[in-house]
Symmetry: C2
Subunit: 217 residues, 2 copies
């Protein structure tokens, strides 16, 4: 079972690593980080480089594809090598997945049309603009398409997928080993729970502010 995690300039590190470290333990699996060209790919803030060990051309039939998001995914929403690769490998994947704004990339490639899917809470309207039934749920399954909400939700998606593929016990084992017993110091992780004025400030912020390091408003 080959699991391909897509990298592109401007990705969010945790979007990629949450699924990476939850899916890696799947028995009989091999995870490969893939990008248009092999070598380091920088994240959205430019201060982190993750190595793509394979080019898109070298990974032609992964069983699972994971598309992370980034604060500004616009560079990946037009025609291009990534969209072509996604459409090609999607023909034979068992699961096609995304985290955060990664669902916009799948949608722009035409893979989510008419399907239910989720995204970062700030990007649900844009997701809907692609003819997607956009929902604010944390992890959404629609057939083989699995989408997760913002950034950290890739951990929940990864564990859920391990459960579907290898059973509850395998998923519980991964959860126990990554000690995923969340105790966030605040209850502000969704627009429904965070202070309303904070949510409003972020809704009014333009994307470039987020790209500039997710600075607090």
């Amino acid at each position: 079972m080959q699991i391909a995690v897509l990298l592109y300039p401007g990705f969010t590190a945790l979007d990629a690593i949450g699924p990476f470290d939850t899916l890696s333990p799947l028995p009989g699996s091999e995870v490969v980080l893939v990008a248009e060209r092999p070598g380091p790919v920088r994240n959205e803030t430019g201060n982190l480089g993750l190595v793509a060990d394979a080019s898109l051309a070298e990974v032609t039939s992964p069983d699972i594809v994971v598309v992370p998001g980034g604060a500004d995914p616009s560079g990946q929403l037009g025609p291009g090598a990534v969209a072509e690769w996604l459409r090609h490998v999607d023909r034979t994947t068992t699961w096609t997945t995304s985290v955060c704004s990664g669902s916009l990339i799948l949608a722009a490639a035409g893979l989510l049309t008419g399907r239910r899917a989720t995204s970062h809470w700030l990007m649900l309207e844009q997701l809907a603009s692609y003819g997607v039934e956009a929902t604010g749920e944390r992890v959404v399954f629609d057939g083989k398409y699995v989408t997760a909400a913002g950034v950290s939700s890739g951990i929940d998606m990864g564990l859920t997928l391990v459960g579907r593929i290898a059973g509850d016990r395998a998923a519980q084992s991964v959860q126990l080993l990554i000690e995923y017993d969340p105790q966030p110091p605040y209850d502000a992780g969704s627009p429904e729970k965070a202070p309303a004025d904070l949510v409003a400030e972020w809704r009014a912020a333009d994307l470039s502010q987020m790209v500039a390091g997710h600075r607090a408003p």
Copy 2:
């Protein structure tokens, strides 16, 4: 404010990336990935390379140090460049922190002696062997020393630290942007909550099994 995230061969990716993506948005901060030598550093399973942008020699007075863990940290527990660097920079840090078995590395460098600290639930006994008051709590503060439990707890630690440094609102902002509203599909994230026989199997497993990709037993 300079935040240095230490990399070494065999680190766990999520240990490094949880603090990375929660601390990066700190106003006025710069995060740098640092290792003995600059360049790609491979993780515990060998299938991921994260780029160290600076050598230990280039980062001499970070304000915050983050030490991630790895399934088998034994290579970092003896005398060596990493231990020397940690002792050196710790003289001037504001916060010296770790995730998972990273606390063993701090302890082996002599920085946690007589202090309260935590680690991955499978490594608490080993932590205590360094004269540390080892606790199973998820995030432990003892003065400027902040340690987190296994792997995913680095997210909780990062958010807690942002709150201490920049205030509740800044931390809530980060939590909202990474949509950290955990909804794990199981309640198995700690040895107290996971099925008892699963916990027992992992307690009996040798470390090499974990290194071999965190395979489920």
